[in-house]
């Protein structure tokens, strides 16, 4: 297995080590559309890595725009996190398309972030013409980015197909931002969530094109299979949880008017995750998961409250409860997966999650924004680990749900030879001509009939 593209995202790769073993014995047939039930094929890894960075881009972009509008003092560091995301994406593109391709991508991608910043500035200055100008520049970006990807993928991605998706990305970010500025926080957060989800589909499309373009580099595996779809879905919901949690905690300590909406968005994310669990482990399993999962969100909020009140005892209590949560959550998952996921491994992973979120929050409160946003990015990336581990476990535990073959091994046999040129004897030709005429008439009548139906 070539690790060329995986190298692009060393951070997520190292975090994926616990599940990397799955990748080994799953080489797919080189012909046809044979699918793989591993969530960690080279193609699925690429999709996951791209999904991580694309969704994080949408999340960080919206949050940066909002902070820009509010002129908060952590704006520069948050914008810096967005730049680091761009650098990681550029490294991924470079690993596939070389230095020149990467540089072109970087320039284009950075330009669109710049146009968003222009839009934010114009909004702050109540400069309608400036907003229009930024939107015009963004439309130019859509065309350039689509053309770039069509060329890079040698036509596997079509500019005509890409443009609506890129426009949707822009519309979602702008609308989430406009809604926030207008004080309609619920609309803002709901559209932010849609913007994150949309990027997950972008990753599926680009990963499909790249793996089709360089099949040898990806062991001929496919980026979109039922198993890879599950992983991508869990990746997206888990990572989004980390992002929304950090923001809700910030909003809580700052007494921001959008705290309720951001907390509700975090709970809506928890509902999505619970629904995913329920779809495999039943309604009861989903409900049990939901209770445990939401409890930890509650403890984080308690921690924020205690911090706001300078209440060390309250903080200690919240941390003790988070410790208990880790044990409960690990026990639940280990039992639901019939011990395929080990409680001790789960506890280690969950503890890391809790520590990362608390670190991001404590650093934010202390005014160390750079460290805080590094913790945020770590926390976001860390969630790929449960995404990979849980999806592979589910695939192993419910193989029937993933055994369906969505690609045929061969083309259909759509002819019986009744109109084929025959190299037989003349009388056969003569006979055939008559049959043909009769058949044509027959077919015509049938068509007429279906027209009338």
């Amino acid at each position: 297995m070539k690790k060329r593209t995986l190298l692009a995202v060393p951070l997520s790769m190292s975090l994926l080590v616990p599940t990397a073993a799955f990748a080994e014995d799953h080489a797919s047939k080189s012909t046809g559309g044979t699918e793989d039930s591993s969530v960690s094929t080279p193609a699925s890894e690429l999709r996951s890595a791209l999904g991580h960075l694309f969704t994080e881009h949408a999340f960080l972009a919206v949050e940066t725009m909002k902070k820009g509008a509010d002129g908060t003092e952590d704006f520069d560091e948050l914008a810096g996190a967005l730049s680091k995301n761009t650098a990681d994406l550029t490294a991924a593109v470079t690993s596939v398309y070389g230095e020149e391709g990467g540089a072109q991508f970087n320039e284009m991608w950075s330009s669109h972030i710049g146009f968003f910043v222009d839009y934010v500035k114009a909004t702050g200055a109540k400069d309608e013409a400036g907003k229009e100008q930024a939107l015009k520049e963004l439309e130019g970006y859509v065309k350039d980015q689509a053309a770039f990807l069509e060329t890079a993928t040698e036509g596997r991605l079509k500019a005509a197909d890409l443009e609506p998706g890129l426009r949707m990305h822009i519309d979602q970010l702008i609308w989430a931002f406009d809604s926030y500025v207008a004080g309609d926080y619920e609309t803002g957060y709901m559209n932010e969530r849609e913007a994150i989800k949309h990027m997950s589909m972008v990753a599926a499309g680009l990963a499909t094109a790249i793996t089709d373009q360089f099949p040898d580099k990806f062991n001929n595996t496919m980026a979109v299979t039922p198993a890879a779809d599950l992983r991508a879905a869990l990746d997206q919901v888990f990572t989004e949880h980390a992002g929304l949690a950090v923001m809700a905690m910030q909003n809580g300590i700052d007494g921001d008017p959008d705290f309720d909406a951001s907390a509700a968005a975090l709970l809506a994310n928890a509902d999505d995750l619970s629904a995913a669990v329920a779809s495999f482990y039943g309604e009861e399993g989903g409900a049990a998961f939901e209770d445990i999962w939401k409890s930890h969100i509650g403890y984080f909020v308690d921690y924020v409250t205690a911090t706001a009140n300078d209440d060390q005892a309250g903080k200690d209590k919240a941390m003790a409860e988070l410790d208990e949560y880790v044990v409960d959550q690990a026990a639940f998952l280990s039992s639901a997966t019939e011990d395929r996921l080990k409680a001790s491994d789960l506890e280690a992973g969950l503890t890391e999650h809790v520590d990362q979120l608390l670190a991001a929050f404590d650093q934010y409160v202390a005014g160390d924004y750079e460290a805080s946003y590094t913790s945020l990015r770590d926390a976001y990336a860390h969630m790929l680990m449960p995404g990979a581990a849980l999806s592979q476990t589910i695939v192993d535990q419910f193989p029937d749900k993933f055994s369906g073959q969505s690609m045929p091994d061969g083309m259909p046999k759509t002819g019986m030879g009744g109109t084929a040129d025959q190299d037989g004897l003349p009388y056969e030709w003569f006979l055939l001509g008559g049959l043909l005429a009769a058949a044509l008439g027959g077919a015509f009548t049938l068509r007429r009939r279906s027209n009338e139906a």
């Binding site: 690609m407 009744g418 049959l435 077919a443």
Partner: protein, 216 residues
């Protein structure tokens, strides 16, 4: 103004809900379902979680719903045929319709309308004469294809290109796999007829892209 008002109403509802909650002693087990307080006056006093569902004045969703096709119309070549769901043969090849007048949508794959390549196959001929897809080789770039579901939703696809491939060496992923666009590909037989094996040597694929959706 309207938005602001509903915001205020929402807020006050939330506040009254929390006031009711606050009478209940704190129970950590219930943290998940706790209705909550976010008093705007003293935001730092006690934060909580509301289980209230969010609502948006406008939601921009990336939705490409697929349909289960029941009727296929290609005016350019006078085709108006039923579409039946079609799966796989035991050998893993795509199955074909049972008769020469209907077409088969590959139900294991993508649905017309969603992101990805959906496929409808039809016979070029029967034992004695032409079948439903006899004329699809006459289609040209820009020709329209209509696919309708039972509930009357009609999707319009536009022909991008026609390609011919050897039957045993077709780019299956390009024809059946995921795509960044909503695609519909029509397949029929073409090329020489191998009498011995009773099959055509080639497959003609008409590649099309979704243009619009209408609900009658």
């Amino acid at each position: 103004m309207k938005k602001l008002l509903s915001g205020i109403i929402g807020m006050s509802l939330l506040l009254s809900a929390c006031q009711a909650e606050e009478a209940i002693p704190q129970e950590k087990q219930e943290a998940s379902s706790q209705e909550a307080s976010s008093s705007t006056k003293t935001p730092k006093a006690k934060l909580g979680l509301s289980d209230r569902q969010l609502s948006a004045s406008k939601l921009i969703k990336d939705e490409r719903p697929g349909i289960i096709p029941t009727r296929l119309q290609i005016p350019a070549i006078n085709v108006d045929a039923p579409v039946d769901p079609t799966g796989l043969l035991k050998n893993g090849d795509m199955d074909v319709p049972n008769d020469i007048v209907s077409t088969g949508w590959f139900e294991n794959g993508y649905s017309p309308g969603e992101l990805g390549n959906s496929v409808i196959a039809g016979h070029v001929d029967g034992r004695n004469g032409p079948a439903v897809f006899y004329d699809i080789n006459k289609l040209k770039k820009g020709d329209e294809i209509f696919v309708t579901s039972e509930d009357g939703t009609t999707l319009t696809f536009v022909v991008d290109k026609l390609e011919t491939y050897p039957f045993d060496n077709s780019p299956l992923r390009e024809i059946f796999g995921f795509s960044t666009g909503s695609k519909l590909n029509l397949i029929t037989c073409s090329g020489d007829y191998n009498k011995k094996g009773s099959y055509y040597e080639d497959r003609l694929v008409v590649f099309t892209t979704l243009k619009s959706t209408s609900n009658e």
